[in-house]
């Protein structure tokens, strides 16, 4: 019909959003910081000048020098090398917790939000889980089984699951009222096809943001657990362990706490800034204004 103006095809939203000029410098700095930390973790053996676990009693509590960039700890281990290796554990715990919360939280949330019959039952279980303080739960679990990276990940993930479930469920409760979901029902869609085609995509944005926060929280909790001495074994370099061992010598050598704390802070700050940037990017209203 000639009376219809037809809009020219625009470049797709995703590609244009990759144009870096659209991001705030803070977001770019956060991304760069995270990239450096990830590379540091991956290439730890190449970067670290010394072994992170090799003790050298003759070199205890050394100040910063060319030999030991950030000095050494009370057992003569190279602090810089330990921080570099510590990134591995921190990132593993963060990624593991985020992935775990996704794998368990997303399906439970979808089921709870879509099948109204199961909803009250699932939600009461989740409420129960939320009533347990996260750190206490982790302490109890680690007291029961051997402290290791997987144990710590599990201990941190379980309290995060209800948060993800609630988020997915809330998003689904509003999305399922959308006319396009009813349209899918009238077109003969099965519950599974409607969940996958119409409801799952609606959870992607809030979920991505939530998972960045889980990631950051997990790193923080792992550090706290290690600092308390109930996390991963003291010989494994983690940021929390380094700070814990530096605690006793704070008056003599405060750098032993300050360096890992600085890296931890930078890491958490970057993740949270990236989370905020994702929220702005994935916010449909924001996108509409940009289009």
């Amino acid at each position: 019909m000639a009376d219809l103006s037809f809009p020219p095809k625009r470049p797709s939203g995703f590609m244009s959003s990759l144009g870096l000029h659209r991001f705030h410098w803070l977001t770019l700095a956060a991304c760069a910081t995270m990239l450096i930390i990830v590379l540091m973790a991956l290439a730890a053996p190449l970067i670290a000048p010394h072994s992170p676990i090799l003790m050298n009693p003759g070199q205890r509590l050394q100040p910063m020098s060319a030999e030991h960039l950030l000095g050494t700890d009370a057992l003569g281990r190279d602090l810089f090398s330990r921080i570099v290796y510590g990134a591995r554990v921190s990132l593993m715990v963060g990624a593991g917790a985020a992935l775990g919360a996704l794998i368990f939280g997303l399906p439970i949330g979808l089921i709870s939000g879509y099948f109204r019959m199961l909803d009250p039952f699932i939600m009461r279980v989740m409420d129960g889980m939320m009533a347990i303080p996260g750190i206490l739960f982790a302490v109890a679990l680690i007291a029961l089984v051997e402290p290791s990276v997987p144990t710590v990940i599990i201990a941190i993930t379980i309290p995060e699951i209800p948060l993800v479930v609630r988020l997915v469920r809330a998003r689904l409760l509003s999305a399922r009222e959308e006319p396009f979901v009813e349209a899918a029902v009238t077109m003969g869609g099965t519950p599974f096809s409607i969940l996958v085609r119409h409801l799952l995509p609606a959870t992607v944005a809030p979920l991505t943001i939530q998972l960045t926060y889980v990631f950051a929280a997990a790193i923080l909790i792992e550090s706290a657990l290690s600092f308390l001495g109930i996390g991963i074994g003291a010989e494994t370099p983690t940021w929390g362990n380094i700070m814990a061992s530096g605690r006793l010598y704070f008056a003599i050598n405060p750098w032993m706490i300050l360096w890992p704390a600085l890296v931890l802070t930078l890491c958490l700050l970057s993740i949270n800034i990236i989370g905020d940037a994702l929220r702005d990017l994935l916010d449909p209203q924001h996108k509409k204004r940009g289009a």
Partner: protein, 550 residues
Amino acid sequence: MSADIVSAAASTVLSVRDLSVTTASGAAVPILQGVSFDIRAGQTLCIVGESGSGKSVTSLATMGLLPKAELSVTGGAIFLDDENVLDASPARLRRLRASRMSMIFQEPMTALNPLMTVGRQVEEVLCYHTDLQAGERRARVIAALSEVHLPNPEDMALRYPHQLSGGQRQRVMIAMALALNPRLLIADEPTTALDVSTQRQILSLIKELQRKHETAVLFITHDMGVVTDIADNVVVMRKGRVVEHGPVANVIQAPTERYTRKLLGSIPSLVPPMPREIVSERLALEVAGLEKTFFPGGNPVRAVQDVSFKLGTGRILGIVGESGSGKSTVARCVMLLERPTAGSLVVAGSDVAGLSREALRMHRRRIQMVFQDPNRSLNPRRKIAQTMIEGPLNYGAPKAESLRKAAELLELVGLPAEALSRYPHQFSGGQRQRIAIARALMLDPEVIVADEAVSALDVSVQAQVIRLLKDIRERLGVALLFITHDLRVAAQICDDIIVMQRGVVVESNTCRAVLTQPAHTYTRDLIEAAPGRDLDQVSRRWESYVHDID
């Protein structure tokens, strides 16, 4: 009109001169270009135009409410009693609002604070702008509420917005807007969300108060019928420019611009065309004794009571009624989106009311739906192709064949096949509704249920979509159940009509009989309340302009 005699001597309250507005960020896209008009005390000026014409931007600029981050005034002046509003400081603007000019909005539910009693909200205006004592304020609130004819104003003042009806809420908004006797009242589509009979009461209330207080009214609407009922002067706007401007009688009776003629010609007539002959005796849909009872908070609400009708293949049956009449519930029950409490539902010869889940899924392909708001009935994240072929894929049709069919159907509704690779937001509202109609046809249904399918569209687009639906019925012989609150639309498309009121069918006959010889008083009231009844002849004169290219 008597207002004309008054206005000869009356002073100019609002004078908009060469107002230009552009977008503030990026390339300055013009939104308003050289808009000028005057309103005198006691007069009503209607700005009429379709969505995107800039009519709301004009009113926001007058109130000093333009979102500064997005829109900026690039030229012109807005004089309110010789004071240029555009030069006023924010503090001065705050004083001007409510005391010298005030505004009422389309949706009174969102414009009122749900957590405050309405009396308190009216009082707040007095708190900010007067030095009255509490006792005097309360007396003024009661006086304001009784002036807008709310029953028991003392009792009303203590109620919360959700305890009032839509019409009562709009009355509260008017009481609030006029509490300080402003010189100018801006009404931005104040009756669009209301039923026709409520709309008529609100319009006459605005007129009455205007006459009493000599208020100048800037009335924004998309509805030519409302214009003829209320305006002294009319400004027709299109794409940010004034197309035509003059006294209502001139603009309506002798429009000089093609666009005005097109707008007038697009108004559906209340007089239905001659009835079509019944081509097939076959029944596509038969509903008998349909009941639906909801239990909000445990108390039964009988939304639909004993509704029965028959819809033949190739026929269009309209269900008309005001909000709360149960017409949408009937549609949802017919679609089995709600399970009816009782009654039988026969689609193409088989009873479907008690089907099992899997049998119901197999049945759904025979009856499809077109929803009111095409922005929300198409998944914004999925391409048109994915949306179109979803139904056939659900029933196991091969993908390539479904895509071919989707392209054909898009062509049928007047869109090129390239549309398949785009997303819904790349289309206008009318185009999206065409896509929704094409999607409903993908499964070759026997019946299409259209629930207010043209209500969200501009009048010229509405005319095109109505034509499309009739055309599809003609070509494919599908039966159409057409739910609408708009008698004019119903008159143009339906063969038969049932009129519903509070869940009950009050009248059921051929379209022509219902509209020309209504048997029930409620139907008569509805027809009586339809705005701009004298527009029909004018409208028919410009019918050919409907096909104008934008």
